[in-house]
Amino acid sequence: MAAEPRDFPTNRGGMCQKGWTSADLLRTPDRLARPLRRTSEGFEEVSWDEALDDVAARVLALRAEHGPDAAAVFGGGGLTNEKAYQLGKFARLALRTRLVDYNGRFCMSAAAAAANRSLGIDRGLPFPLTDLQDADAVLLLGSNLADTMPPAVQHLAAVRERGGLAVVDPRRSATARLADDRAGIHLSLRPGTDLALLQGLLHVVLGEGLADVAYLRDRVEGVEEVRRSVAQWWPERVASVTGVPAGDLRRVAHLLADASPHRGGRGAFVLTGRGAEQHVDGSQTVGAAIALALALGLPGSRRGGYGAITGQGNGQGGREHGQKADQLPGYRSIEDDEARAHVAEVWGVTPDDIPRSGVPAVQLLSSLGVDGGPRALFVHGSNLVVSAPRASAVRERLQALDLLVVCDVVPSETALLADYVLPVTQWAEEDGTMTSLEGRVLRRRRAVTPPPGVRDELWVWAELARRLDAPGTWSTDASEVFDELARASAGGRADYSGLSHARLDTGEALYWPCPSADHPGTPRLFTDGFPTADGRARMVPATVTGPDDDVRPDAPVHLVTGRLLQHYQSGAQTRRVTQLRDAAPQAHVEMHPSLAARIGLDGAEPVRVTSARGSMVATARVSPDVPPEVVFVPFHFAGADLVNALTNDATDPVSGMPEFKVCAVTVERVDVAESMLHPSQEAVS
């Protein structure tokens, strides 16, 4: 069993280490293969029946005592569409809880909220990725795709040839380096100031007459409000906030404008990643990025647009079909009575059987095990004690639960805290679909037989639903579940009703919405209008506030986090692949030589990084690629080098996105820290 690349439009035959080694994960030695139950000594193996009987009984007992919201669900953006759909249904109909949310809240929620508000729909890229190949300019904000999805870099080749790649990142990341040698420009900004930077770009575009006036008149609302709001953000002021020279800002604004169709360019794209989105003003930042694209007349023009670079394996599909707190399948609102009636009919229940909105992830996690909060949690496809902000507080909350059930492939750090660990199938062992970052629905086909004892989550939910006496049908066949999902999504914004496994198996390139069996799908959105009430897009004026936890004398350094090429997510999977682990076995603290000199570092020594929430230790990596006042730490690691122990759980009020990407820290040599500790310890003894 091995992984080989296919020549597919998105990867063009390329694979990075994560792809090449993906088959190793099927053979990982500590693969979970039996249900486990926590005992006072650790875990014991139990039968599936025993586990499911007890879990169901305990849920029913908690419900009887505390009501249905005593149980909560935390899902994942790596689940197939079928599982994401069924998980939302399981929460609402079997657990009867409104409390369901998922790790996509940490990933795509800011972009999703902004796109819904401004464009009327949230599809990461509303155009095929390959459209980038024809463009003259691409603005990448807070994305390090050269590390996160290296094959996608191929689509930037033409833009780089034309000198049109602009990368916004505090770090000179692998992606920022793609702009070297006249391929474009790297704007190194102060962490957490992406919104101010975008206000400045909008200022230049609107102020210097670079905007597509006809497009704004015909297709966009809110231009005047935004024009006024960005009048306060002239480039020199933006420079004082972001550190990006005013001249560079003007240059990028002109680069994008000249690439735009209304000025005869071959196309321009504005793309955001988590670096720009994971902030307390994340949805405003994306709103400004969309406003910039609108000002240039890009969305729907066929030669440009705005897009969010989706992270997780099924980060797109995972956010469409109901594992989000306020959402029903087909990207419908759970508060919309028409949507409730439609979905209730598909589910064979009455609308009143469907609970109303729950709460977003950070709020959900912080309520676990507290008075009036949930007493039981089901976790699927998420390792949240590593991936959630302020991770040590999350660990405490999980430990305060009466019942924690974790479905996983490997004994992740979160699984190790569970009362029940249920072993489930992984990628090549299961059937289903995923929706790519460009909204194309892809088949996942079972290629190997899972180890005995491992079950598909569809089966787990069906078994639990039966034990919980849930209404509705609970198919364990992915194709049947997909058909139900398609019916439930019919008429919704993410309409899959014209799709089926059989149709996808023909190899047809199908992008949602695809509302009927003879519909060809929609590779490009907005060509005829925006799916808003009046068919027009919306520019939303922004208020720049800056980071929630900004630097101060006793925490003078900015911490930013991100990914390494060798890993994804919490690393629960990639840290188990020998080749990837050997290449990047632990976290490091990337810092500028001048900061290293300040703290008296002599080479690659361990350093301690401390925020108001927690502390971590990892080896310093001295590099001029980070600004002198910033350190970077990758977030895939779970030991003393767990960086999410430090990150801020303050959230964006619009989207619930936590501010992973910037907080204030101190950095010190570990031996210094230790020698400062010892005297007081001696004094106490």
């Binding site: 690349p5 063009r12 035959g13 390329g14 694979m15 990075c16 280490q17 090449w20 050269a146 590390d147 290296p150 094959p151 996608a152 870099v153 191929q154 692998a174 793609l178 190194s188 102060r190 200022h203 102020g207 210097e208 007459g209 409000e225 024009r227 006024r228 009048a231 306060q232 002239w234 480039p235 020199e236 002021r237 420079a239 004082s240 972001t242 550190g243 990006v244 020279p245 005013a246 001249g247 560079d248 004026p541 630097v551 004398p553 003078p556 350094v557 090429l565 060798q566 080749q579 290449a583 030589p593 001048s594 900061l595 000199a597 300040r598 001029p624 600004p627 002198p628 006042e629 101190t666």
Partner: protein, 487 residues
């Protein structure tokens, strides 16, 4: 409590915005003499330069703020708490905020005034949107422009008009441009940069008179009797705080309306902010301290929070001049103390100057001319304790980039394919194991199969290997390895 703000400029407007942000029910009325919506005065030089449309300088209106536009406040009755307007109306207040700003200073030069307070045709100041319109219109039919004054506005206007293709002369009162904001040797660098742009700077140019021909400006006569012929004259000779209202009301007035650190005037229920206010630290004249004062005063009046003193001296100057990059903030060499470390690089030949001032391990001042990247970087460190390196020079010296050598010279541990973590040593290993083409190497090592960005590098390696170690000689690979080691 009704708060009445006199002055609808940037600072008065910002105060009103902040007040209703803190308390949406706040009763705030702004009285302004200009008939326009609030606009960004800072951008007027950009309008002159043609880099900003007039429509793009309009600021957002705060909802819920009462406005009286196009009327002038003519009197304050402190006892009755009335504001008298020139249309005869009276507005009562519980707290009065003076944000009357400043007016452009007009030198008393023969020929300049055309009667009833107006300037002769062809002569302009740049303070209001009407002024900007006038300068832009005047520039259309002008070939020569003369700017009196070499401060920030003078230099911005000069560069803007130069960018419009005019011949531009700047009359500086001292040796160089921006001499209030820059130390002499820095000013000299900026002045040379300006000359490079084709702007003629006349140092120590005292102006004696304005010559008028057919009712239009024709030339400026200097103290030495020389003539500077011009079609367009812009006076950028500073500003004067507008204090008439305060004087008439009997408030304490010096250079400006005197306020304490709480921004209170000599009357406890009257405050002053912005360019009209004289704080213990002086009169501002820049928008950033004015905005900070507006926010602080709103906090005091609406939230009863104490005002943190807003420094006026050392406020950052970021020049918005087409082609000339000047940033200065905080302490500079001439204002530094005996224990400060002042590190400067005077690279006048390249029209570049960089200076930083460190006090007790913290960067407290930075000045950059012609070094925008460094200016951006250093301004992020300003006034932030805890991040300066022991040797401040380290911040100014670029760290050499990692060497990307030729395929032959790079060390074996160099990663050639990042996506798949393939080192040069791995490629050599594949070659020794029998690979003899690019395809073989790719197949074995997976180099180039990710993003493809290393293709030319790997091709180069393979070509080199084919030369020095052709497949037929694989048995002799030991020799090649020795050869590599010897390089």
């Amino acid at each position: 409590m009704r708060i009445v703000v006199v002055g609808g400029g940037m600072v008065g407007h910002r105060f009103a915005q902040e007040a209703v942000r803190l308390d949406p029910g706040a009763d705030v009325v702004v009285v302004g003499e200009e008939p326009y919506e609030p606009y960004n005065r800072v951008l007027l030089s950009e309008v002159v330069a043609g880099r900003s449309d007039l429509s793009a300088v309009v600021l957002p209106e705060a909802p819920g703020v009462g406005r009286r536009r196009g009327v002038r406040a003519v009197g304050v009755d402190l006892a009755a708490r009335h504001l008298e307007l020139d249309d005869g109306a009276r507005v009562t207040w519980d707290h009065l905020v003076l944000a009357t700003g400043a007016r452009a200073r007009v030198l008393p030069l023969p020929g300049l005034e055309a009667g009833d307070g107006r300037l002769v045709i062809g002569a302009h100041v740049l303070r209001t949107i009407d002024d900007a319109r006038g300068v832009v219109a005047g520039a259309v039919n002008a070939t020569r422009a003369c700017v009196v004054g070499a401060g920030a506005i003078g230099v911005e206007v000069a560069c803007g008009l130069r960018g419009r293709g005019l011949e531009v002369t700047v009359l500086a009162s001292r040796d160089g441009v921006l001499d209030r904001d820059l130390d002499p040797r820095v000013s000299a660098v900026a002045t040379r940069s300006l000359a490079d742009l084709g702007v003629h700077v006349v140092p120590r140019a005292g102006v004696r008179a304005v010559e008028v021909s057919h009712g239009h400006v024709d030339a400026v006569v200097l103290e030495d009797g020389s003539h500077v012929p011009t079609d367009l004259l812009v006076l950028a000779t500073g500003s004067v705080p507008r204090t008439e209202l305060a004087v008439d009301a009997g408030l304490a007035v010096g250079k400006g309306v005197v306020v304490d650190e709480d921004l209170r005037t000599s009357h406890p229920d009257v405050s002053a902010i912005g360019d009209c206010a004289e704080t213990p630290d002086g009169v501002s004249g820049l928008v950033a301290p004015g905005w900070a004062q507006a926010a602080a005063l709103a906090e005091r009046l609406l939230r009863d929070r104490p005002v943190a003193p807003v420094p006026v001296q050392g406020a950052a100057l970021r020049l918005k001049a087409v082609g000339l990059d000047v940033v200065t903030a905080g302490v500079r060499a001439s204002t530094s103390g005996p224990d400060d470390r002042v590190v400067s690089i005077d690279d006048g030949g390249a029209r570049r100057f960089v200076e930083l001032v460190v006090r007790g391990g913290t960067l407290v001042g930075t000045t950059c001319v012609g070094a925008p990247e460094l200016a951006g970087r250093l301004s992020m460190l300003l006034d932030r304790p805890g991040i300066m390196p022991p040797d401040p020079l380290q911040l100014l010296v670029g760290v050499p980039d990692e060497q990307v050598g030729s395929p032959t010279a790079m060390p074996p541990s160099t990663t050639v394919c990042r996506c798949n973590g393939v080192t040069k040593a791995a490629v050599l290993g594949a070659w020794d194991a029998g690979c003899c083409t690019l395809e073989d190497v790719v197949e074995t090592t997976r180099a180039t199969t990710g993003c493809g960005g290393c293709r030319s590098l790997v091709c180069g390696l393979v070509e080199w290997l084919q030369q020095v170690d052709p497949p037929s000689s694989h048995e002799a690979s030991q020799e090649r390895e020795r050869g590599v080691a010897a390089r």
